[in-house]
Amino acid sequence: MSIYLSLKEIWRNKGRFFLFSMVIALIAVLVLFTAGLGEGLASANKEYLEKLDADLLVFQGGTNYSTIESRLDYQKVKRIQRLDGLEDAGPIGFSNLKVVLPDGLETLDISFVGVNPGEPGSPPVFDGQSLSSRQAKVIVVDQRIAEQAQVNVGDMLTIKSTQGTDDKFFDLRVVGITDGRQYFFQPSAFVSLPNWDRYRPKADAGEYSSRPITNTIAVRLENPAAMTAMSAYIENSIVDVEVTDIRTAYESAPGYAAQQNTLNTMKGFTFLIGVLVIGGFFQIQTLQKVPQIGMLKAVGTPDQIVAGASILQIIFVTVFGVFLGGLATFGLTLGMPSSVPIIFTGTSVIVAVVSLLLIGPIGGMVSIRLALKVEPLTALGM
């Protein structure tokens, strides 16, 4: 009976309810867009680290897990690799340079990552081969670089690096393509550490080593459950290092927390606006329907049917609005340039959708209470 009444009312007032669904849809677009942006920005920041086949990251002591500040020499890498309880450990060096795009004029900023092939940090490839220490002048690029630079396995890729005061160009052969591995908002390309040290931007072009100083060491544990104990063990065993899990590492990245908090605040306010708008709409609608509700009660309609009809109406309108909003957001993202980091597969988007579906009933709670309190005699003016 509640379903019957709520659907009839929606159907016979479809224009009004559709317009209101549009308002909910706009709120949904805002929330989903913010959530997708938050997810996308977070991913752009942490994608490489999050996908690392490792449990812990080792940094130089006192650097607050900052890959920019941290410097680790090869001796530390060797000492860490010799510790008990570690399955493997691999040094990683981060740098930034540019890839020359096919037109030869434009460039693409990338994260230039040096890894030891086969050790933690070295990316798996879905096309071509993984990096090998025996091959020189080879590079593995992530999918975004492959798309934007229009390169396939076997193609040559030109990188531009500022060494000293000169821009130097190096042609490297793409041997493999890995999935999206952004780091610090840039797509990533991977080379072996000796090549990394040779090609990365630096003050003196002539200075490079086969065992360069790196920024962090990715550690894979024999028993990942013992992460906390192993962190302490590594910190106690090796001088001047600090160890943390992957999540803490990327959350410690400069600006990450501020950015996510800003987006979460935006989301929170949009939700609040949503609750108030929906609450206001249903409250006004219920006030307009007081005589009608009074009549329904006077002819013997139980309270649960009156309340049920109101709740279902709110749910139908909210679900339809969120569905419309979802479609609109999807449409918007199709037309969005790929440089805008929006991801709709993350947990925060699922949380956003569930929360959007909840704001209707939360906002409409006051109106349901009002509907239940309608006194038939007063409502009918008897």
Binding site: K8, P291, V299, G300, T301
Partner: protein, 274 residues
């Protein structure tokens, strides 16, 4: 209590206590209605007739006395039982806001069947027949906003009768209608009550409508002042509309006399009560 009555009230009173101001809206009213009997409840504003109707509709609890419909004492029922009773045993037509605005005429009538979980093909047929009988055959699928006031009241009448209630109550059903439509509506209402053997009570200010009732009960100051059962007296009363000329909220002394004098001047005295 007599079993031949569908509706009986015995010394029913309703007292309102508002900030120490005690008002006896209905004062020891005893009334009985048999199946197929249509009663007109008249009286000036504030005489207690609407309060009486609200108590009979189980929308208001009596302070004292007994209200019995279909052998069931309303006073002993819980709120939930009263709602169920109202849904099953009582048909109600109001002065205004009678219909659900987003349901068609037919759906409004069917509403009572749905509420009573009797939504069958048979019930739809019955609702349709009732509306056709009320001259609404070409308006079955119209929304209330597409119907005139008289048509809306006819739909409300159909809704009040469709679920086979024992008692049918009407609160000023002609208040918003012109004379011609008012006559049509009440005549149809009376005919159906007689035909279907319901106990019908209509509260009205319009004495002209009394020509369709079997008995007129006049209330004054919460009490039954007079009961008129004689057809000639009823017709005589219905031939005037002096009630309409009365001030709605006149002081008791002022509003009582014209009414009493009206009765005294036109009718022979009748014993108070029933």
């Amino acid at each position: 209590m007599n079993n031949k009555y569908i509706l009986e009230t015995k010394d029913v009173s309703k007292v309102y206590d508002s900030n120490g101001l005690v008002v006896k809206a209905v004062n020891e009213v005893s009334l009985s209605v048999t199946a197929g009997e249509f009663i007109g409840l008249v009286g000036p504003s504030g005489s207690g007739k609407t309060t009486m109707l609200a108590m009979l509709a189980t929308l208001l609890r009596e302070t004292e006395g007994n209200l019995i419909i279909d052998g069931q004492d309303l006073g002993s029922m819980s709120d939930r039982e009263r709602t169920k009773f109202r849904r099953e045993k009582i048909g109600f037509t109001f002065q205004a806001n009678n219909l659900v605005p987003y349901l068609t005429a037919l759906e409004n009538v069917e509403l009572m069947m749905r509420l009573n979980k009797k939504n069958t093909r048979e019930s739809r047929k019955r609702a349709t027949e009732l509306l056709v009988r009320l001259g609404m055959d070409d308006r079955l699928h119209n929304l209330p906003s597409q119907l005139s006031g008289g048509q809306q009241q006819r739909v409300a009448i159909a809704r009040s009768l469709v679920h086979d209630p024992s008692v049918v109550l009407a609160d000023e059903p002609t208040a918003n209608l012109d004379t011609e439509r008012a006559n049509q509506v009440v005549q149809i209402f009376a005919d159906l009550i007689h035909e279907q053997k319901r106990a019908g009570i209509m509260v009205t200010h319009d004495l002209r409508m009394c020509k369709y009732v079997d008995k007129v009960v006049q209330m004054v100051d919460g009490k039954i002042a007079r009961v008129i059962t004689d057809r000639d007296e009823i017709n005589l009363l219905a031939g005037t509309s002096e009630f309409d000329k009365l001030p709605k909220q006149a002081p008791v002394e002022e509003k009582l006399h014209p009414v009493n004098s009206l009765f005294k001047s036109n009718l022979s005295p009748a014993p108070a009560g029933n």
